[in-house]
Symmetry: C2
Subunit: 511 residues, 2 copies
């Protein structure tokens, strides 16, 4: 007897729950590895993560899932499903098709290699020795190439690299990115030129004054309190830890962030806490009714990044937020802010300057760091660049786009962990995040024109509510371009982001 | 074609690895729940743990495991397996038979009832209301009786309670325990009487002097440094965190402990760090070649407890260790140790006094707390005591064995969480740990007569090496009584433990 549509759908959602529970379990173990694990535990940990990955993989590709999906999609009452249910079926089908085609051994080998490669990367970076890293990176790229070839078939993309991009930004292609990034480069270069021509020199020295870690902890707490990311109450669903590189991870009621405290770069932790809180609030704000379902996830990496950057940059680096914070910062910073007026502080944290390190880049030059990585990845997977050429290609592009000279590979091609972890196709999402953020901002300005005044008074609620209602709560109901269209009525465009930068930097740099 | 013996054995070991990796993954998640999880994450967490439990259960009872075991055991070359391989097969067979015979519904119902029962226990304990706890406890006992009946068949034990005991202390029976505990009671009572008659009154006030948490952290670090439990180096395989109740957890290269700092009971953290380090070193010292195999686990709960108590009591409460530590403790303790001479300190941390609460009991009276629980459990599962009689029976025994009057059930029958969680048969392991420890000590005194002098000089290596070589490294090669025989040449006997207590307390209390 044929299963009822309702019964099959219900069963599919039960499998979704099982899979999601597995993935969140692996997420906790991954978090532990990054934050708490004793160093000797690494080998054991890679066994755990690769087994959980394998079990999750088998859960996804179980032929029963294929049969369930078939029976739902071919049911003559399929059209009676509502939009949400159809989206869940669509997302599951996509994941199933993609994952079913990946051989178990490839999945396990990639996961294991990621753990090894990230660990070697750490040591190689400390030793400034690309040659130590190269063989493990080469193995990782080979594994990702194999996966990309298979994914290209399944997804029907034009190139293997497009298939990798789709994993982070569903529906996007290298051609579309090239197009958008072309406009972005022009726009960013334009803003940079105006800033250079302004003659204004931000007093960045004041950000290098020493602020004790304890004081920075208090500042981080202020930042979390401001955006209402709860890590302290009896109902808290978050926590803050310290890692070399800040990150966020988690699901609904347990979403965690990390930061890194630099005594001689105290605003770094302030802005990374804001950034990661932006990610965390997104995960926590997804519609609770969608928990365990495919739609109960973030839309894409780019949309995720738009939320973290919105909080970090659009809000966190706004003159209004800084005006609200400055008196409180004075109380804990001690001499570091002595005699520092608001405008000097605003200019310092909005300093625009070509630099070597992506994660330290400002809002304007950041996109250029991304363009470099995008071009290298695209050429790597098109066979136009070899692994041993990476340092040279990297350094040349940094010279060309940013005019900086890379002195060693630790500040060059080894600065980021992404490639070591196998995340090729990820970087463009960061810049797309800025672009989406600019579009969201333009719409929010219309819906909540008083938002800046409220932030100046220390009230984040209007912004937080707008982001929750328009973006967070929508989870994965739409592909990123569709979500943007749904929220703003527009196709993805670069203009609002550039206009935002021009407006803000124009005021600060007086152009 | 029939599988080769070697091939089947190899396959069994691969399954063992898979199962062990799963269990260690669940262990990390459990650790996270106890130490780091934001409060809101608890529901999500219980989904993760119960799914991992289910996956592990299915992994164990997979019919393929049964087939593998059959093919190995029935192979005509079975005798060509070495002792280690036979032990691995034996341990896997035992686990398979036990787990395969327990109906899924009973396992699920017990796990669910444990959660309910522990929660009700917490509330009932806070309310000092046994009647609130009783119905849930009765259900739990009923479920454990069902399991015990099945296990009795599988294990071929004389009584259902023996089957429960075997889960914690393989091979032991209630009759053997009664016999050993009979001697223990007599011996402990004898020591107690002499202490009471001595007229010496330890100055326990000095242990209630306030010592700041930060100072206690340094003391904990000294304790870990002393026993060489590494939580700080780049090769560390351990870590220390804070929880309400101290515990240890982990496997080989990642074994973690926790403690609790009481400002007004500062030696509590010192001794709990020593205790948990004793557990942790055991796990870390098991023969590395046995990783992922059944033999690559601790022998039993009792042997585990013998190791933690050895470090905490035999070493940690020895005059020699305290002599070594005192000057260092003075440096961090501030006024709390001002004017405190060594003998006064040694006497205070070795105070013997009948009390109501097991976890606060001293080395002498501890065993009496355990005898009470053992007798009650044994009679409960023999139908001689009913659930509603528990408080009365408990209080009578506390009066009889310890001479203390229980005023309410929260300090009486509801003080421990074990029964609420369904752990019947667990308690005897604690006292057996003391007894095994006494036997190990006697043998170590012969092998390493200089151990006390070395400890006095701050050198734990002779003790640590002896424990590693004789106990830790042996993993689960033997059942506990066989391990004890292997190490000491003797059957389990009470005399060495009592002699140890008499010797130590005699010096302190002057008898």
């Amino acid at each position: 007897m044929a299963k009822s549509l309702k019964g099959s759908y219900q069963q599919l959602m039960e499998r979704s729950k099982r899979l999601t529970v597995l993935k969140t379990a692996a997420g906790i173990i991954q978090w532990d590895m990054e934050t708490k694990m004793p160093p000797k535990g690494v080998e054991q940990r890679s066994e755990q993560l690769s087994l959980l990955d394998l079990i999750a993989h088998r859960e996804i590709v179980d032929p029963e899932i294929g049969a369930l999906l078939d029976s739902i999609e071919k049911d003559r009452k399929y059209e009676s499903l509502d939009e949400l249910q159809k989206r869940n079926v669509h997302l599951y089908r996509k994941m199933y098709n993609e994952e079913a085609k990946l051989p178990d051994e490839l999945v396990a080998a990639t996961s294991k290699q990621a753990t090894i490669c990230v660990n070697v990367w750490k040591r190689a970076k400390a030793a400034k020795d690309f040659n130590m890293f190269r063989p493990e990176l080469a193995k990782m790229i080979e594994l990702r190439e194999k996966a990309a070839d298979i994914m290209m078939e399944v997804k029907g993309t034009k190139t293997p690299y497009d298939a990798l991009l789709d994993a982070f930004e569903p529906g996007i292609t290298a051609d579309k990115i090239s197009d958008i990034f072309g406009g972005m480069r022009k726009g960013l270069m334009g803003v940079m030129k105006k800033i250079e021509a302004s003659g204004v020199k931000p007093d960045s020295e004041l950000l290098t004054r020493r602020v004790k870690i304890d004081a920075q902890r208090k500042i981080g707490q202020m930042a979390m309190d401001f955006v209402k990311y709860d890590t302290t109450s009896k109902e808290a669903g978050g926590r803050l830890d310290e890692t070399e590189h800040p990150f966020s991870t988690g699901y609904f009621d347990d979403v965690r962030i990390t930061t890194h405290y630099h005594e001689d770069r105290w605003t770094s932790s302030l802005f990374s806490v804001l950034h990661e809180s932006g990610h965390a609030l997104y995960e926590q704000d997804i519609d609770q009714d969608w928990k365990w379902q495919p739609v109960g996830n973030a839309c894409s990496y780019g949309i995720h990044e738009s939320q973290s950057r919105f909080v970090e940059n659009i809000v966190g680096r706004s003159p209004e937020f800084l005006e609200f914070m400055l008196p409180q910062l004075r109380k804990v910073c001690g001499p570091a802010l002595k005699g520092v007026r608001l405008d000097r502080f605003v200019t310092a944290v909005n300093q625009v300057e070509a630099s070597k390190i992506r994660i330290e880049a400002d809002e304007v030059t950041y996109g250029l760091h991304i363009i470099i990585r995008f071009e290298i990845e695209r050429d790597l997977f098109a066979g136009k660049v070899k692994v041993n050429e990476l340092p040279q290609v990297w350094n040349e592009k940094y010279d060309k786009y940013l005019g900086v000279e890379i002195e060693n590979d630790s500040e060059g091609v080894m600065q980021d962990t992404h490639w070591a972890g196998g995340s090729f196709g990820y970087f463009p999402s960061y810049a797309l995040g800025n672009i989406y953020g600019g579009m969201f901002l333009r719409k929010m300005e219309k819906d909540v024109p008083e938002w800046r005044e409220e932030v100046r008074k220390g009230n984040y609620v209007p912004v937080g509510t707008w982001l929750k209602d328009n973006v967070h709560s929508k989870g994965n109901m739409y592909d990123p371009a569709d979500l943007v269209k749904h929220v703003t009525g527009k196709n993805v465009e670069i203009e609002p982001f550039i206009a935002y930068l021009k407006g803000k930097m124009g005021k600060i740099y007086g152009f």
